[in-house]
Symmetry: C2
Subunit: 333 residues, 2 copies
């Protein structure tokens, strides 16, 4: 910048005005402006965003923390977030917590130290404290997928209770009476809501809950746990006739397990699943699906975040926004 000023015999100030697009506002002559623009081009001038950031206090970067990049759902959301952020002139910084407490708090800390303007996060069950901190310090963020009902935060979630209910009800309508399900990280709100729907559907149909049909696994170890859980169900209740998978990752593990045991799962069971991933339709063509609107979740999360960045300080405006998106239900069979 100094170089341009020297080259043209102007001051840094003037160059800055022009380059930041405020030339007209400052009534700088067309001619001077053109000279500056040309000079910048000649010297191949690249503004130093770090300096600008230090001065302005804005990085135009948003952080996204998800439990796992590999998971199809989160990577779909990541894509949507990146897309929308890019459109709005923001850059994405990504962290994968791997559902580990320390990783997650470190990432939040790391991202927060002024490297990002705001945060989008699907928190693990451990992070209530970190989230509460963000609230207290008025750091802009929005939760998705998982949230804490008792905290007044921005979030975008889905109608999980309804999805669990509708999937289960459909199985019942198709004749199932012994419907199994697997809890994953049962302390998560999102899990509880889907399970609540499952229970309501059973209740409304007068089917008693059978604890043998409900397994528990932890997210961190679900790959190894899920197979065991399925096997246990098959042993305890050999005439199980339906499976309600509250997330696609459980359906995948279950199908793997069925396949290894040579079980003709497509005909032996009726199945329903929250979310669908590529090839699932081929593997289990008759499984009903409640589809998570990953694109919309990502888009809305960015919008809520940018909105809350803009109104930072405006105490009069509504402080938080909560969005509940509907899942699309696809009944098959």
């Amino acid at each position: 910048m100094q170089d341009i000023a020297d080259l043209l015999g102007l001051s840094r100030t003037t160059v800055s005005w022009v380059l930041s697009g405020k030339g007209d506002e400052r009534h700088i002559s067309r001619e001077t402006q053109d000279r500056v623009l040309k000079g910048a081009a000649d010297l191949d001038y690249k503004p130093n965003l770090i300096a600008k950031t230090l001065r302005m206090g804005k990085t135009h970067t948003i952080g996204l923390i998800i439990p796992s990049i590999e998971d199809q759902f989160y990577s779909e959301v990541a894509k949507a977030v990146e897309f929308e952020a890019y459109k709005q002139g923001y850059t994405l910084t990504l962290g994968s917590s791997e559902s580990e407490k320390d990783r997650e708090s470190n990432l939040i800390q790391l991202f927060r130290d002024k490297l990002i303007d705001g945060l989008i996060i699907a928190p693990t069950k451990y992070s209530r404290k970190e989230i509460t901190n963000l609230c207290r310090q008025d750091f802009p963020f929005v939760l998705f997928d998982r949230y804490f009902p008792e905290l007044d935060t921005n979030y975008v979630i889905t109608d999980d209770e309804r999805a669990g209910y509708m999937l289960t009800r459909h199985l019942i309508e198709k004749g199932c009476r012994k419907i199994a399900t697997i809890n994953i990280n049962k302390h998560l709100e999102v899990t509880q809501r889907r399970m609540e729907g499952y229970r309501r559907a059973l209740r409304e149909s007068g089917i008693e809950q059978n604890p043998n049909l409900i397994a528990d696994v932890e997210f961190a170890t679900y790959r190894s746990d899920a197979a065991g859980a399925i096997e246990r169900i098959l042993v305890l209740e050999p005439d199980v006739d339906g499976f309600c998978f509250i997330t696609h990752i459980l359906a995948i593990e279950a199908i793997n397990c069925f396949h290894e045991h040579g079980i003709d799962f497509n005909n032996r069971f009726k199945m329903g699943c929250v979310h669908e991933v590529p090839m699932m339709k081929i593997v289990a063509p008759k499984m009903s699906i409640a589809r998570l609107p990953a694109d919309e979740i990502g888009r809305q999360a960015v919008r809520l975040l940018l909105a809350s960045l803009k109104k930072a300080g405006n105490a009069d405006e509504q402080r938080t926004r909560k969005v509940v998106l509907p899942m699309e239900l696809i009944y098959r069979d």
Copy 2:
């Protein structure tokens, strides 16, 4: 920082020394150091990384640009990159080029303007110019998946020719004589190398190349194109007996297409595929696989990048490093 200094009656300088861990080096008394540390904790001091960055010229952030986050392979690499970067104290900024020229050059530009220390990128076919620029300006970067043989750059790629060769040879050994394949973005080095392997295997077995068995699709539109390509092959050469898929995304589309047409692909064809994704083994249990070492690619890419960050300036050292990783071959059927 000033606040801490004021609180303790010390200068900013001293506080800075202590906080940056250089207290001992500067022979600052244990006592003073403890006071500073305590003061920092009391005031809940958070260093401003932006200021530090401006001063030090390092952001400790690396950029990753991939063609698509949703793609299983790239998201596996992203995960490995994030993991390794985190371990080394770096943060990841992610961009998805969607194989669009403008998006890609914008991202490179955006990331480069001092927001990142270095870049890891799987370039599209359009980006030779941008990459050449990075070279000329000595900006640290490493390519993966795709590279430009005529440019002297860091890269980590795989033994693609061998993979294409081994998969095809296996099909031939199993009795196939009419092996179809689909070119995707045929101007990409990586595609050409895999196709070269396919051709070599045919040549060595004295099987003549049949242009009807080779389709072309573009990455940007592969979803719609692939089905058409498969259908064309089935019409032109109804007795096709093998498929060599040079990437998993083509296998997925092909299998979808077979499935929709009610074709019993597992028994009618023998198949081979570069890379494997969840559930593929269930859908096509007899398909052979050349597995891309996504984890290793990500890890190595980060290491090469950090190595080249460290030696920036050391003209005597070897300038670039090239890594070729082997794919694991899994023969089934």
